[in-house]
Symmetry: C2
Subunit: 344 residues, 2 copies
């Protein structure tokens, strides 16, 4: 395993982080990935302004930071201008923000299929607000967590320059729409816009996906497990700590202008293998029942494969395979599982 | 010249247009392309519901249709739900709409660079409304006029499956965002979504572009002409009548699901050649002054080249070269020019 990049401090960021503490603005700060990013930015010495509307974000994800003087948490809704003008604006008038990390988004693909307003407001309109904030407060870098979902379904290895980009969910569509707005901003006033297309992400504080859903089902019934889809869904997975490494790397190395980067490991894992890893780590042997469909829900892309050459050419590559990422997350889950059993 | 497809009636649409009159819904009906499309749909026998907010659309573009019983014009603003619920809804409850043509959009690239709200509201949020209308009233086909601007700047021939799709204007970004929403709709509830990427379009009723701008300047001063950019901007041009042919062809032939189609001629023309054609047709010899920049304004893509193989493979190809399209438009302008001089 590579040494933990997140605790190396600021030595990897000579250009971006001069002696005085830089200030980062993080939207979706109380979310799954957002809260881990906030931790990492504080660890390297930044001042951090976190913004969340606490619709999906959890206060407990940031509870350990109470009392941290370098962290300001603002409750604001970025889906409309009225939602963020006020407390956030007055803080930004005092702070010189270096990077805007835009992570606020809907994270529930199925919710956005049922009601297209969810992704429109929580993903796309928050991006429009993030760009307005960047323009008004002259923030030179906007780093946006996009998604593999922008590609839609394809049998090809997905690379950043190939199309056809046909998202099949509003989740993916509003990520692509956000990328488009970021691209246009770079065409006129924004110095740098980085769209980071994340794979499936696992780890503590996650709120969706197979490693959120299955443990909940197993807690209810450890003898029998129903799995959505036929289990042959096959995708690349990364642990949230490695994702944050990649985000910080791109902040440091992505060139000026608009750029898109697939972030991912160099392999994939099936849902069936994830089920084995999870039940094995938890010491359970449930009867597993798979569904008949090739996917878990409408809007789910059942398999994809990334090309990650662009990120590798800048000098970063994933140190873990998909199974290792899932394995680490299962170990974390097992610890919580044990703790929750002990406290019962 | 090919015979005028627009007046052939409905014989080319055996599947789409049964004996009873079909009803088409056209957003942006009073606009440049929208009003020509309405004419063509009425010519082939459709009932047509036109919607416009008359921000950019002109009532005079539809004045010749007053008294036409098959045409209903609704003044409504599609940029918010409050803007269209009401008169449009009650009409749609009575009419079974076959195709929704979504043409309502901002058409002024420069206006959208100055204020990103313009494209957000007029192009993107109108698309969201169009999709809601299609879903609520079970309209199976949504045909959307997208743009070459979704590609941004590229030295490559642009084809529908290649990327990287980096729009440099909010105009292009919100067209791409609209395509993304259309793609996602096809991923769950919409039978067919057709994104038609238009080239530069000329002809009567146009509201922007070189053949709108230059005649206005020449009317003020026929002796001296200032041209934005160095004149070497080089793009494919089509006449609006040929564009409408292509739109109707795609309605007839585009397969189910989400599809993207470049619509264009097989060559390009420079602004310098357009200036020669225009001044020659008007019988003027102004002193022409070109600017120093490679483009007319921020957000302008100075040159692009389409691959049109996808449309050709369905059986349609442009019958005119770019110069012929511009030449026809210049002849129309010359007629108006002469008429306006006569009436002075």
């Amino acid at each position: 395993m590579a040494p933990d990049f997140l605790h190396r401090g600021s030595d990897l960021h000579p250009v971006s982080h001069p002696d005085h503490a830089a200030t980062s603005l993080v939207t979706g700060a109380a979310g799954f990935i957002g809260s881990h990013l906030v931790d990492a930015l504080l660890d390297r010495g930044d001042r951090v302004i976190g913004v969340d509307n606490f619709v999906r974000g959890q206060r407990e994800n940031l509870a350990h930071l109470s009392g941290c003087e370098r962290f300001h948490l603002i409750e604001a809704d970025l889906s409309s201008e009225e939602g963020w003008r006020g407390p956030l604006t007055s803080l930004l008038e005092e702070e010189m923000v270096h990077s805007l990390w835009h992570l606020a988004a809907n994270s529930d693909v199925a919710a956005g299929v049922a009601d297209s307003d969810v992704d429109l407001r929580q993903t796309f309109l928050t991006t429009i607000s993030a760009l307005r904030i960047a323009r008004e407060f002259q923030i030179g870098s906007v780093l946006f967590t996009s998604s593999s979902a922008v590609y839609g379904e394809s049998d090809r290895e997905l690379d950043e320059d190939s199309g056809p980009l046909c998202p099949i969910s509003n989740y993916g569509a509003m990520k692509l729409a956000s990328e488009a707005a970021l691209s246009a901003a770079c065409g006129s006033w924004l110095q740098r816009g980085v769209a980071m297309r994340l794979p499936n992400v696992v780890g503590s504080r996650c709120t969706h996906g197979v490693l959120f859903d299955l443990p909940k089902r197993l807690a209810k019934d450890p003898e029998r497990l129903e799995v959505l889809g036929d289990g042959y869904q096959r995708k690349p997975y990364m642990h949230v700590r490695r994702i944050v490494e990649a985000l910080l790397f791109l902040e440091d190395r992505a060139p000026a202008g608009f750029g898109r980067f697939n972030i991912g490991p160099e392999d994939e894992i099936t849902v069936r293998d994830i089920v084995s890893l999870l039940t094995g780590t938890l010491g359970l042997s449930p009867e597993v029942h798979y569904g008949g469909a090739d996917r878990g829900w409408v809007g789910d892309v059942p398999h994809y494969r990334y090309r990650t050459g662009r990120l590798r050419s800048l000098g970063w590559r994933a140190q873990e395979k998909s199974a290792e990422a899932v394995g680490t997350a299962c170990m974390e889950l097992a610890q919580n599982w044990k703790d929750s059993r002990c406290s019962q």
